[in-house]
Amino acid sequence: MSGEYRFGRWVPAEQVPPEAERVTDQVIQRFEHVFEVDPDLMGRHFNQQKMATWDTKRIVAARWDHLDAVHAEFADEVILAGEGPDPGPTTSQEHE
């Protein structure tokens, strides 16, 4: 699940994370599909850390690999969430 990022090649210029794009009032995004809490909301109780690009990519890749391993070990079937917007909880009328 490491994708195309080359963990075995460290290029200094690539290690500074790109500028963030705002996703919602609370969330920003620096890498595709990698969401990050708005840094302005951090600091009161817990500070953000300095994190190079490779380390963010490492964590994300490790999470997918871990989920794959857990699914392989424990799941009879893995159901993926849809790519579209979350429809929210169904109403009682819809149940009827």
């Binding site: 490491s2 080359r6 963990f7 075995g8 090649r9 460290w10 290029v11 200094p12 290690q15 990698v34 969401f35 990050e36 809490v37 840094p39 951090m42 817990f46 500070n47 953000q48 850390q49 994190m51 190079a52 490779w54 380390d55 963010t56 990519k57 490492r58 964590i59 994300v60 890749a61 490790a62 999470r63 690999d65 871990h66 794959d68 391993a69």
Partner: protein
């Protein structure tokens, strides 16, 4: 924090001698300046661990698996920071606990604070750094362990680690640092240099010889350093930060003098030091590209520049070196290489399962606690035995010494992945696999 200690100034601090045997939880103690700075720096990380308390780290920790001592768990390393902050522990109380770590990083990657939300909060568990900071404090306070003291004194004298033994006159100095390359006609300097770490340069010389000849066979140009010292990483891991920085300074200056732009790290520990410690030491001044050899060799094979033609009739499994897999996320390239070797039967164990595997060869553990290293390696070979293989393949020369010793007992040969590639490329490697 500071108010709390102002209140406690009148408390009588026990001496090191009394504190070493009894921890008095009822009498908070005043922290010295160094300890105060330490707990302030690591307060958030320790609190993140202590307040979560999931302890997923315990069973991936190779040392905890062996000692079953709660004081040796990654959780304890963080809890101690809280206890020191509250005045319930002194450095003396916990000094020996922090020796019990290979700095494999398994605890960090398995911690949900890293694995599930580390990228979201841009804050992850940094146990390895806590261990290193504690060890640095032990050095500052003269509480460093005797074995590490000798090892680093000799490293400072020799300019390379005393991997052939700390007693007697082992041929382990600068005069012999390039002996492994005899007859290979490798130039000095150039755009790209191959950094050969101490264990490879003096102990398992088959690894750098195989690496150099593979690169030559693929037509990949590289040179060696003018004057190669130890990378300084092990000194940093054991807490000798000034020595680590001095060695790093020397190596960077040597690269600069030769016009080097790219460093090939043939060993995973070096790759970690060059991509984490060196940038931390030198900031933007450190502008070299660093390439891990496994990534490079996989590319050379993929691009057809390196032909693997000789069948290797072995049944193998792969040991994910901690610093490649857990610390750096490098696990696909070695598997790609093994699958490209003709004749090889490869029985794989996934990288996540291997977060709890280790050789015990890192972080200075074999110097201070060789019996724990040996047991970690014995258990690793036991896992390999269950797969009915004849060979355990690693990609870390530091892991290969303890694994080989355990392999002798288990009847399984330990090979470096680059040695196998060279054999499959029809190269007569030379050198030796053990002293």
């Amino acid at each position: 924090m500071s108010n709390e200690h102002e209140h406690n100034e009148s408390a009588t601090a026990p001496t090191a001698a009394t504190a070493a045997t009894t921890v008095d939880l009822g009498t908070p103690q005043f922290l010295g300046e160094v300890e105060q700075a330490f707990v302030e720096k690591w307060h958030e990380n320790a609190t993140g661990c202590f307040s979560s308390g999931h302890k997923f780290c315990r069973e991936v920790c190779p040392v905890t698996q062996v000692t079953r001592n709660e004081n040796h768990t990654p959780t304890a390393f963080h809890a101690n920071v809280i206890a020191m902050e509250k005045g319930h522990l002194t450095v003396e109380d916990v000094a020996d606990d922090y020796v019990h770590c290979t700095q494999c990083g398994g605890c960090e990657v398995r911690c949900p604070n890293t694995l599930m939300v580390g990228d979201f909060y841009r804050a992850r568990t940094e146990t390895v750094k806590v261990v290193r900071a504690m060890r640095a404090m032990l050095v500052d306070k003269g509480l460093d362990r005797e074995g590490w003291k000798v090892w680093n004194r000799l490293t400072n004298e020799l300019k390379n680690e005393p991997v052939l033994g700390v007693e007697g006159d082992s041929p382990n100095a600068q005069a012999q640092v390039r002996d492994w390359a005899e007859g290979l006609d490798i130039p000095i300097g150039g755009d790209t240099i191959m950094f050969v770490d101490c264990e490879a340069a003096y102990y398992r010389t088959s690894v750098p010889r195989a690496t150099a000849q593979i690169l030559q066979a693929a037509g990949y140009e590289f040179g060696l350093m003018n004057e190669q010292w130890c990378c300084g990483g092990p000194a940093g891991e054991m807490g000798y930060v000034e020595q680590s920085m001095a060695f790093a300074r020397h190596n960077v200056d040597d690269w600069r003098k030769s016009g080097v732009k790219r460093i090939i790290a043939i060993e995973p520990h070096d790759y970690v030091h060059f991509t984490e410690d060196y940038p931390a030491y030198f900031g933007e001044e450190f502008d070299f590209e660093v390439v891990q050899i496994i990534d490079l060799v996989a590319e050379l094979i993929r691009d057809g520049r390196l032909k693997l033609t000789e069948p290797i009739d072995r049944v193998v499994t792969y040991h994910d070196p901690c610093r490649l897999n857990k610390r750096k996320g490098i696990h696909e390239a070695p598997r790609e290489i093994l699958r490209s070797i003709p004749g090889l039967t490869f029985k794989d164990v996934d990288r996540v399962t291997q977060w709890s595997y280790c050789s015990g060869g890192g972080g200075g553990l074999p110097i201070e606690k060789p019996e724990i290293t040996a047991e970690i390696s014995r258990r690793r070979l036991e896992k390999a035995s269950e797969l009915e293989v004849d060979t355990l393949v690693s990609a870390c020369v530091w892991s290969e010494r303890p694994l080989t010793a355990a392999g002798d007992e288990a009847g399984i040969e330990v090979k470096d992945i680059i040695e196998l590639v060279a054999e499959s490329a029809g190269i007569e490697i030379g050198g030796r696999t053990r002293a």
